[in-house]
């Protein structure tokens, strides 16, 4: 209740300032115009379509990163020797800012969902890998010994022992990665990929439709918030 007060006051001041001519409408627009652009964007289907395009790439990249990150994390978490050998190479690759790979992804895949998903996958891979690795390393060793004495196959051990025991912390990594996936997808679209919400925002800005641009920005914020909440519900 108290939290809604300040945004409400700001919105009223914004609207009043705009109507009084204090805030230039080209750049500030006004809340009523933004609300109208929002409704219109949904009615003509452009916002839902762009949302889907963004999510398509974000979720595809996230899924790739989740599978590869969990597999690599389990391997590195189980074998201290492997970790010692591969770890430094992982540490050398990890600090590369994901956006530095945008031109490379463009070179390899051209414009489209594949280049976007590949950059998302690179960015999401690291948190999943690191959380899985430390989660697996923290598993009670006796559980693994038990699996060995029961002569479970590797995949049975993975499914029945490792993943359940490490599930909580892997979930934390997945949640982090899910948040990152949306951010990176939008970033790639804003920089150069001509699809999705990010590109639509740049388009609205260049067409001097600041009302539509703010509507898309607020929608993006809401999407991020909802994704975060959904992830909290589904994952631990």
């Amino acid at each position: 209740m108290k939290g809604a007060l300040i945004p409400a006051v700001l919105a009223i001041l914004w609207e009043a300032g705009s109507r009084a001519g204090l805030l230039p409408q080209d750049s500030f627009s006004r809340p009523s115009a933004i609300a109208a652009a929002f409704v219109h964007g949904f009615a003509d289907g452009t916002i839902p379509r762009d949302t889907w395009l963004t999510f398509e790439a974000a979720l595809a990249g996230f899924a790739i990163a989740a599978v590869l990150g969990i597999l690599a994390g389990v391997a590195l978490g189980l074998s201290a020797r492997l970790e010692r050998v591969v770890g430094p190479s992982v540490d050398a690759l990890r600090p590369i800012p994901s956006v530095a790979l945008i031109p490379l992804a463009l070179l390899v895949f051209g414009f489209g969902v594949r280049m976007e998903a590949s950059v998302v996958a690179f960015a999401c891979f690291w948190p999943v890998l690191l959380m899985t690795q430390s989660a697996v390393r923290g598993i009670e060793p006796r559980l693994l010994e038990l699996a060995r004495s029961l002569q479970l196959s590797f995949f049975a051990t993975l499914r029945k022992v490792i993943l359940p025991a490490a599930f909580d912390r892997i979930g934390v990594g997945l949640r982090l990665a899910l948040g990152i996936s949306l951010v990176v997808a939008v970033t790639v679209e804003i920089v150069l990929n001509p699809r999705g919400l990010g590109h639509a925002m740049i388009g609205a800005q260049q067409a001097l439709r600041s009302d539509l641009m703010y509507a898309q920005l607020l929608w993006l914020g809401a999407l991020g918030w909802m994704l975060n909440h959904a992830a909290k519900k589904v994952l631990p």
């Binding site: 600090p95 956006v99 970033t187 804003i190 609205a204």
Partner: protein
């Protein structure tokens, strides 16, 4: 003995890549050999071509980050030390936080044009959140005994803040600043690509457009090294600044 296997692994990776490139198993336009990339990097360093964009990107990153850290700590203290401010502002901050920082690039272009000011504004906005939230978080949990001590000593609010609360929040603040610096580098590269501002980000995009892939890879390597150094510098600073604390809490 303990250094050799990891070195061998890294060398083997690069070696396989080099071999695959030499034998034309992989497309040299997409994946130029590590040798060509290194030579490109060496030439750029020797001819001085590398330093200007490197300096431009570094400065861009630092300007935005310093601005964000200063604002983040100031706002964080304002919000974190007052219950009332927390009640009124925290829900709004929670809503703003998941907003992708790059999404405000169009807004910033609208206000600042395709300029350095736009880039700094975007970087400052993006790396503000980790510092701000870490400061609020760090101020939330002062040790009750310390606060009792303060009231016994009749310290003023200001003294409590400077002597107890801020030092207590320092580990959180520094961790937030480290996350902020990583974000600042990302956004520096993003804004350079989007707005064609001079720097490494623009350079690698131009290298891609003209299919000069060794140059593109050299740029990615340099950005990776920058990210690594930035993180290490702050880790060392953290260790130094927090030496007064008990080793394990």
């Amino acid at each position: 003995m303990r250094v050799v296997p990891p070195m061998l692994f890294a060398v083997a990776l690069v070696g396989i890549w080099q071999l695959a490139a030499e034998l034309k198993l992989i497309n040299p336009i997409f994946f130029p050999s590590p040798g060509r990339t290194l030579r490109e990097l060496w030439d750029q360093g020797a001819s001085g071509q590398l330093w200007q964009p490197l300096g431009a990107t570094t400065l861009r990153m630092l300007y935005g980050w310093v601005l964000a850290s200063a604002m983040g700590v100031a706002l964080g203290v304002a919000i974190g030390t007052s219950r009332r401010a927390r009640q009124y502002l925290e829900p709004m901050l929670e809503l703003l936080r998941p907003l992708p920082a790059s999404a405000i690039i169009p807004v910033a272009i609208l206000f600042f044009g395709l300029s350095n000011a736009m880039s700094t504004a975007v970087i400052a906005f993006g790396s503000l959140w980790p510092v701000l939230l870490a400061t609020v978080q760090g101020l939330k949990l002062p040790e009750p005994q310390l606060l009792e001590l303060c009231s016994t000593l009749r310290l003023s609010k200001r003294q409590v803040l400077l002597k107890i609360e801020l030092p207590g929040a320092l580990p959180d603040i520094l961790a937030g600043a480290r996350v902020g610096l990583a974000i600042a580098l990302i956004l520096a590269v993003v804004t350079e690509m989007q707005a064609s501002l001079p720097g490494l980000g623009q350079n690698i995009l131009l290298a891609q457009r003209s299919f000069r892939s060794p140059e593109l890879y050299a740029g990615i390597v340099v950005l990776g090294i920058m990210g690594f150094i930035a993180n290490q510098v702050l880790l060392v600073a953290e260790r130094r600044l927090l030496r007064w604390r008990a080793p394990s809490v």
